[in-house]
Amino acid sequence: MEVVRVEGLGKTYPGGTKALEGVSFSIDKGQIFCLLGRNGAGKTTLLRILATQLKPTAGRAFVLGHDVLQDPKAIRPHIAVVPQEARPQMLLSPYDHILYFCMIRGQSRGAARERTRKVMDDLGLWEHRDKLASDLSGGLRQRLIIAMALVADPEVLFLDEPTIGLDPLGRRSVWHMLRELTRKGATILLTTHYLDEAEMLADDLLIVDKGRTAFHGTVEEAKGDTGVGMRVIVEHPAGNGTGPPEVLEPRSAEEILAIVERGLREKRKVTFKPASLEEAFIKIVGGSIEVEDT
């Protein structure tokens, strides 16, 4: 089932800056859809348009079947947004944040208390309920912000760089939580700068560059389309080597086997480096980086 559909979307700001141009894609229910791109590529603009916070100037976008421009009020009760660099009110507890967000979104005090307990339990925040937000770690603060977005049990969740500034454990905890949410049927669109994050989470991927679609497909397709494959690093024999090690890109299992056999025969250390999305990303947007550098 299609949850988000975008057709030729464009956004030109009043000053004439083109933030988006001709972007099209769709997202199915239960997917994690990752938006990648450099700073200023148009990721946040696209997310804000889909979250009904910004009006497009060209094309159309539909969320849960409703046009973001014609019918935003029909969309809003079913979505939630975690903005970039959102932070909790440091002088309040996690419990206060979530309880009040429940009540602001229309729940009675009793229902709000129950929902607060459930959301806090689900996200591992209950034991921290009475601490001040200022005393929470970065990961817990981010979880709190996500919990505030989840109070309305949204069908579609928009997250703008949700793990920025978190340590590796904090990031993993957020990833785990997002996977759990999709298992329960939520659809997630997230923007990120972290390519390992996209590699871990993305069911589908859109790379935008200067407001235009630079790539759309899966992580594996991104690697395949750009010819980024596994690399094998063959070092010189100990005490007998000069210069950099050999870096090979085998195309078949036979080639891999041959490299391993040669390494064993010549007593050379062989290291396998899987293809990474980062390399594919650099190949995809690399052209524009070179243009800017000259």
């Binding site: 804000r48 979250a51 009904t52 916070q53 809003r76 009760p77 979505i79 939630a80 947004v81 975690v82 903005p83 970039q84 660099e85 959102a86 932070r87 909790p88 009110q89 002088l91 309040l92 206060d96 009040y100 967000f101 009540m103 602001i104 979104r105 229309g106 505030m148 977005a149 309305a152 928009f158």
Partner: protein, 232 residues
């Protein structure tokens, strides 16, 4: 409509919650505009000066509450980013704006009530007088809420979000004849003319008049209302 009022109320309470949870800070904030009254009470020799300044302080509490909505607007938009979270939900933009506007009133109300009791003990006036005086304060509040929203929505940096309302509070509150009578400026006609351009002057004049503390000509009463309505 009921659900919209509820949304606004909870947004206001949530915004005011850090202060409501910290009684010491609440006392300091709610007494902010009443501090000059203590000095006037101790040092002023003119009869009734302290009560007039107390009325001025009530007026200014409403004025500052409206003006400092700018900080709520700025911080919810640029710092916490709760605005983005709430706009992309069933919460109406109007509820959000009303909620942020009333949050300051929630905090200021205890101080206003104490001051009102003190004024009424010093100068008993009929209920209608109190209501009309509070209406002038409310009009001023509404006008300055708009000013506060304009500042908060257009400011891009936290330093300015804090400093602009502080500077304006001096220009609107401590310089014009709010704590002291307008007649004090009789010797300085230019300053008096300038004072008449400031909305807090008119609100304070009207409130003092309705509390029976000063007598002003009818044209000045009419001018005061016209100015406040126009300003709002």
């Amino acid at each position: 409509m009921k659900s919209r009022i509820r949304e606004a109320l909870y947004i206001g309470l949530f915004d005011a919650l850090p202060l409501l949870r910290d009684p010491m800070l609440l006392v300091v904030i709610s007494l902010f505009s009443f501090l000059p009254v203590i000095f006037i009470f101790v040092f002023a020799t003119a009869p009734g000066a302290a009560v007039q300044s107390l009325v001025g302080a009530i007026i200014l509490t409403f004025a500052f509450t409206g003006l400092f909505a700018s900080q709520s607007v700025y911080f919810n938009k640029q710092w916490f980013r709760f605005q983005d979270m709430l706009v992309a939900s069933r919460v109406s933009p109007a509820s959000y704006a009303v909620g942020l506007s009333v949050s300051g009133l929630v905090v200021a109300l205890p101080g206003v009530l104490v001051a009102l009791v003190l004024v009424l003990l010093s100068a008993p006036v009929p209920a209608i007088g109190v209501l009309v005086a509070l209406a002038t304060a409310l009009l001023l509040w509404i006008g300055l809420v708009f000013v506060g929203f304009a500042i908060g929505a257009t400011t891009k940096n936290a330093r300015r979000a804090n400093s602009i309302p502080q500077v304006l509070s001096i220009a609107l509150g401590f310089l014009p004849p709010v704590y002291y009578p307008l007649s004090t400026l009789d010797r300085y006609p230019v300053a008096q003319a300038f004072a008449m351009l400031i909305p807090t002057t008119h609100a304070a004049q009207l409130a003092k008049y309705y509390f029976g503390l000063i007598d002003i000509p009818v044209w000045q009463v009419a001018l005061g209302w016209a100015y406040l309505l126009g300003f709002t």
